[in-house]
Amino acid sequence: MAEPFLIGENMTGGYGAVDILHSCTLAVEPGEIAVIVGPNGAGKSTAMKAVFGMLKLRQGSVRLMGEDITTLTPQARVRKGMGFVPQTHNIFTGMTVEENLEMGAFIREDDTIRDTMEQIYGLFPILREKRYQKAGELSGGQRQQVAVGRALMTQPKVLMLDEPTAGVSPIVMDELFDRIIEIARTGISILMVEQNARQALEIADKGYVLVQGTNRYTDTGKALLADPDVRKSFLGG
């Protein structure tokens, strides 16, 4: 098999002396949606943070387009084309929607920032409507759109989402998933952690079921949904 577009391979590490991840592997191809699911405390968010460099790895490596980026800081990875949307505190609450997007494009020096902003307004029309409103005054779903929009402003090749649907209503969740599919269709790889395992696996090209920091099942989203073991243990039957 050829080298994947982005891969975190055999990642082992944790925040302190105790390892949370035990040779965990995550990979994603261009235009693909990879979803990490699993029970609470399985290390889902930790695994994603490890891929993004927010966690020191004791073993394993992270490679983007074949280049080893294991030792790069998160900021350097942003410059390499990785976008990250944290689960909480993912917007500048005191700034307007448009300023949030502008700050997302802070590292860009070209003059097509306006165009990218238009694309994002096209993807999330509500943001265009509220562009001069403070992001902190928006609803939960709209805030998530701002957060995703901010990360897209760097024109990343990989977009990493840490529980994008946490705390939003089911209707808003479906809409967000639709947008995420749209983003993936433009060729951007999506790696996301999700609590709503069933819905997330439905849109996933690839699913990773993590348990206690290791890969338990890895398959396409459909296959995982059809797998009786996965259904029984993780999807509630």
Partner: protein, 334 residues
């Protein structure tokens, strides 16, 4: 009843000095609030930074005066101000390099950095003593009055004079210019926005590629410049004594907290609230009342709530009231 005279006295004793004092406080409080929101600590050395900057402005003023350079009707200190600002900026940046950066790298708790800033305050205070001494310095020159009280009386025929000192007018004008420039900088420029973004959400600012050291440097530059301007205006308007600037800390912090720490607009509004409260509480209202009610109603009192010696108590009182009832301040800071 003599409304016009009462109004004139009110303008003369409350409004004009309040606007000038409020403007001077605002420039100081803006620096405090900026440092708080970006560096996340209360800078107790700010008052002495003002004293430090002003000391150099005074030295340059004397130098200019000795060479015969003046600004005509304006104080010579305005010419010396840019040089003073540069030295203040150099000083705060050097302090940051030598002292604060160490604690920033360690991610020290804000309370520790506050204590550190107290240490910086003592050092700065000592430096000022060595540079210019402890005695009072008067460095104001040029035309003293923009509106001469005698002229005003002659022109209007009122018994009460109205005086506007040049330094008062300059204070208000300078504060207005600085505020407009600062708000434009924060709202419209990329660098200003990155400062707000960093203050808003440090981690996300990092993820967006904003360089924290650069934001911190710019914050010190802006706060240092504002401190030097504020100190010079205050020194011109009253007179200069290093130790006075230390006692300005209280009203400046009260102003920043009343408006909401971290909110520049709040710092400006808070400054005027504090300035006017001080004047209203410590003013002897007898004169103004004497125009409004028959003289025999007044009795012997001065109608002064608090002696001017206790004016710091006013800021303290405001601070306590705000912290008890609206700790986030008027404009909802942190």
């Amino acid at each position: 009843m003599d409304l016009l005279n009462a109004l004139t006295a009110f303008l003369n004793f409350i409004v004009v000095p309040g606007l000038a004092y409020g403007s001077q406080l605002a420039l100081g409080a803006l620096g405090i609030t900026l440092i708080f929101s970006v560096l996340r600590f209360s800078n107790f050395a700010h008052g002495d930074t003002m004293a430090f900057g002003t000391a150099f402005v005074i030295l340059f003023t004397w130098w200019f005066q000795s060479m015969g350079i003046t600004a005509g009707p304006l104080p010579t200190a305005l010419l010396a101000l840019p040089l003073g600002i540069l030295i203040t900026i150099a000083m705060v940046l050097a302090t940051d390099r030598v002292v604060y950066r160490f604690y920033r790298k360690q991610r020290a708790k804000p309370i520790i950095v506050v204590i550190v800033s107290t240490g910086v305050m003592f050092v700065m205070h000592g430096l000022v003593r060595m540079i210019i001494g402890t005695s009072e310095q008067n460095f104001s020159d040029g035309a003293r009055m923009l509106l001469n009280p005698q002229d005003f009386r002659a022109a209007t025929g009122l018994a009460e004079p109205l005086a506007i000192k040049t330094t008062q007018a300059i204070s208000v004008a300078a504060a207005a210019i600085c505020c407009v420039a600062l708000f434009w900088f924060l709202q419209r420029t990329r660098t200003g926005k990155s400062m707000r973004a960093y203050a808003d959400n440090e981690d996300l600012a990092l993820l967006s590629g904003i360089n924290p050291e650069r934001v911190v440097t710019i914050t010190w530059i802006v706060a240092g410049a504002l401190a030097c301007i504020a100190g010079t205006l205050y020194g011109l308007d009253k007179s200069y004594r290093g130790v006075v600037y230390f006692s300005l800390l209280m009203p400046m912090f009260a102003a920043a907290i009343v408006g909401g720490l971290g909110s520049p607009l709040g710092a400006v509004v808070g400054s005027f609230i504090v300035a006017f409260s001080e004047l209203i509480v410590t003013n002897a209202w007898r004169k103004i009342f004497s125009y409004l009610v028959p003289p025999d109603w007044l009795g012997d009192g001065l109608y002064q709530a608090l002696s001017t010696d206790y004016k710091v108590a006013v800021s303290f009182g405001i601070l306590i009231i705000v912290l008890l009832f609206r700790p986030q301040g008027i404009f909802g800071g942190k």
